[in-house]
């Protein structure tokens, strides 16, 4: 990782400066810049500085968004009983919702790391990983956290979040890994194609390998 830009060269996303800006203001500003101007946002994002900051951001917003999404689905399943079997069992009981709420943070963490791991492996394979895994993880985490808030919008929020996270991730990788749109799109969209939007209970994302290493 000899070509990594020192962290001080980039001012960082508002979330990375939340001590100065305040927690709420920094959160709102980060969500706004990632949703509305991802390229500008990820051009200032630090490429290093630890996994804790982006993980915390994604964990808070991802858990809240995920719970909101599941709540809307539960309400919808009551109104329109289109779900059957495991799905209805999952959503139609308070116990099911309770279990999901407890597991949600762990699902968010595992999903984030597995997604970032797969995307980074694919970037390595197409020669687009100019910077290390941490950079890819930061892009995925900030994209995921920022777009997760859209799930509070009923019915269309989940769809919007699913599409927007892809767009933000692609623009984010282009800016942070300094790669082309084609290569960033390949890395982000191929896992989606492989899984084709299957919502397999969290751990099914284990399609990914844990193999990573310091390949450059």
């Amino acid at each position: 990782m000899d070509n990594v830009t020192p962290p001080t060269e980039r001012p960082g996303l508002p979330w990375e400066n939340r001590q100065q800006l305040g927690l709420v203001a920094a959160t709102i500003a980060t969500v706004r810049v990632v949703l509305l101007d991802a390229t500008a946002g990820f051009q200032v994002m630090r490429r290093q500085g630890g996994l804790g900051d982006p993980l915390l951001f994604a964990l808070i917003l991802g858990t809240l968004g995920g719970l909101a999404g599941i709540l809307w689905q539960a309400l919808m399943s009551l109104v329109t009983p289109v779900l059957t079997g495991a799905a209805s069992e999952m959503f139609e009981t308070m116990a099911g919702l309770g279990i999901f709420a407890v597991l949600m943070p762990a699902v968010v963490i595992v999903s984030l790391f597995v997604t970032a791991g797969v995307v980074h492996l694919l970037l390595l394979m197409v020669g687009a990983a100019r910077f290390g895994f941490e950079t890819t993880f930061r892009v995925i985490a900030y994209s995921y956290g920022s777009t997760a808030v859209l799930q509070v919008v009923p019915i269309f929020g989940g769809f919007a979040a699913a599409i927007w996270v892809l767009v933000a991730s692609i623009f984010g990788l282009m800016a942070a890994q300094e790669t082309t749109g084609a290569k960033a799109s390949f890395a982000v969209l191929l896992p989606l194609t492989l899984c084709c939007l299957c919502v397999c209970a969290g751990v099914a994302a284990a399609v990914a390998l844990g193999v990573h290493s310091g390949l450059k």
Partner: protein
Amino acid sequence: MRLCARQLEPRELDHEKLWAGVSLLAAGLALAIPEGWRLGLGCPFKAVTGLPCLSCGSGRALQALLHFDPKTALGCNPLFVAALTLWGAFALYAGVVVVLRAPRLRFVGDWQPLRARVLAGVLLAAAANWVYLLARGI
């Protein structure tokens, strides 16, 4: 490109510690999730086209693995089981080196000549897996 064992450099990301932790959490989740949920909510691709997607059968494979039935798991989705096995092997290695504070294995050298072949291998494996799922009517 070759594999070598070396100590972590200052401020270098400890991948082994990270992935050992993530693997433990994922394993805990797999066990904690109620049995019926592991099968997921159904595949939208299959619902629309009638054809399996590349990850169809993964939920059933996971379910079978958790019941110590690798043969059934392999039959459901071989690529998923292979990926999970690789992940498991890496997690085991990561756990051991973290506990023993042993040197870490890293690839060194130029991997560019291998890159295209690895990518082709991954795509070929995915395609072969899909053909298998189609043939088996998973």
